[in-house]
Symmetry: C2
Subunit: 352 residues, 2 copies
């Protein structure tokens, strides 16, 4: 026997590229083009580095408290993790322990499949309809749990609160997770449904609308019972996950609501303007309510446009996957960045 | 069926208490009593908060590079995680996938058992001898992997490099993990053995000797092959775990070697002085090479001393577990803190 015989064999995952070039335009990982709230810099200046010698608060109390005030729920209804990836992964581990397959859309966030494989959870994907919408009737089959993003990624398509509620109503016997990573760009959150359904878990993140991808902060809100189960699992194997700077600085992102509304509003305005220009250039796309647009060109292949942009230091996202290989996912940057993109596309498509 | 039927049932874990009182003396979680290197504050002052909007470098390149220089190994031999808990948990998942039980001591870091249960890895504990030392012959039985801390926790007992090598030599067909969380307080690291053994993984942390428990930084060093396997598993399910502040500030803890040697040297000096005084007060203990002392009193029960200290705002650690229920694990604080502890014990024991 060799030690390598005991090694867990995984399918090597190729993450989206994260180049750091001086003059690049980075529209490939849905980051916020604006900096975090100005108060964050003030808090950094006041940071007592002596405190770094101590273990951080494993309950992330300050963050939980301000989120509780902001969303009008009890602190006992909130669970905080190291990015929403950590939160969702923990939720898979906690809530999806049945024998029946969990359900999620065929075109969606690629990590759902990864976590299901990791925790050996059976799963089944349900095809989106031709307009990239969920078909609520697909979620009436026997299952061990449900998860979908709203708006969906990478399509940007928002489902109505009625559709979301219909799916929860039909699935009171399993946990339904609504992944609202992109909800703050004009979507309607499922949070009010928490009053009616104790099997609903709503996940959000500080990485997009709160401009803090670098701090790794995600959270979810659910019934007190669900959050207790999540905490039991988390504390059963790792007490100290979120570090001290994230706990301190994350609070400011919630406190400064005017700034938050300001930057998300700007991103929405830019997005709507870009939609018009993309249409003029011959692109089609589902109507996005996220901080990105999922677009294909009428005649020029997606892969070709992707490469041309890349050679000109404009990075967008492209997948060689069924149903979506002609599409580009373009993050909404600043107005200036989007104008550079649009000018390039105009010239490039005229020459194609 | 109810949604709760699918919930993962865990044994609720009670973490060591983390009280934050103004005048308390906190000797219960092996934190460093001194602040991080002074350069950390300078780096914090220079932190560009605008960078927080971007995802952090998923390869933690600056940290990996400085650790590579410091320890004289290739960057490809280093894996960095969110505290050594994250690193070890990932190593369990990656390397302990056989059917044979993994082996670790009966008295040791309590999370080994937890991760084994979590990942459904069979395990077997080997009893320490009467002097709290490993018995190398125990580690000659068929197994699926081995892990032990050196120095061991909570005993503080250091095994010689000869003992460590003997165990590795007898187990070339499995991965042997040496958890060196407390190696910087006078221990001899197994790192030089990496040149001979490609199945050895050495884990260390910034939480104790580098005074950065609040940043959550751990790392391990092994053969390039092992680190590649670890990265494959990590990247297969979570690319962005260590946040931006930890990546930036952690570098300084390695760069300022004089400060690092200064504070670890001070802690060692304090420890040796405290050993003498504890002996005079009627305590016995194995000879610690860590930043704590694992001591019992000749006549007064451990639980009783623990409670008396606690009522006087001095926090140490006590477990109601077989073999160790009479012992207290006392973290080495500043000289002043230790003098307060010793004075209290002197008066308390005189009155008992």
């Amino acid at each position: 026997m060799k030690w390598e015989d005991n090694v867990r064999k995984v399918v090597p995952y190729v993450a989206g590229e994260q180049p750091r070039k001086a003059k690049m335009i980075k529209l490939n990982t849905n980051e916020c083009p604006y900096p975090p709230a100005p108060g964050v810099a003030e808090l950094v200046a006041k940071l007592d580095c002596g405190d770094l010698r101590l273990y951080p608060d494993s309950h992330t109390t300050p963050l939980v408290n301000i989120l509780s005030e902001y969303y009008g729920v009890k602190p006992e209804q909130i669970f905080v993790g190291v990015g929403s990836d950590d939160v969702i992964s923990m939720a898979f581990m906690t809530f999806f322990n049945g024998d029946r397959p969990i359900l999620f859309p065929d075109v969606t966030y690629s990590f759902y499949e990864v976590w299901a494989e990791l925790y050996r959870i059976p799963y089944k994907t349900c095809a989106l309809d031709e307009d990239w919408h969920l078909r609520p009737e697909d979620y009436r089959q026997p299952n061990g749990g449900i998860i979908f993003p709203n708006p969906n990624a990478p399509t940007g398509v928002l489902e109505s609160l009625e559709t979301v509620e219909k799916i929860i109503q039909a699935n009171r016997d399993v946990v339904v997770i609504v992944d609202e990573a992109y909800i703050d760009f004009g979507g309607v959150s499922a949070l009010p449904l928490l009053e009616k359904y104790d099997n609903l878990l709503v996940v959000q993140t500080f990485s997009k609308s709160r401009a803090m991808a670098g701090l790794r902060i995600g959270f979810c809100i659910g019934s007190e019972k669900m959050i207790r189960y999540l905490n039991d699992v988390k504390f059963s194997f790792n007490s100290y996950t979120m570090n001290y700077p994230s706990q301190v600085l994350g609070v400011e992102a919630v406190r400064d609501d005017a700034y938050f509304k300001g930057i998300t509003g700007r991103i929405v305005n830019t997005r709507e303007r870009v939609k018009g220009r993309l249409r003029e250039l011959g692109f089609t796309f589902p109507d996005s309510r996220a901080n990105f647009i999922f677009a294909r060109h009428k005649t020029v292949p997606g892969e070709q446009i992707f490469q041309a942009l890349r050679e000109n230091n404009i990075y967008v996202r492209h997948w060689n996957k069924p149903r979506i290989s002609e599409y580009l996912r373009i993050t909404i940057g600043t107005d200036e960045e989007m104008d550079t993109l649009l000018s390039f596309l105009e010239n490039y498509l005229a020459a194609s």
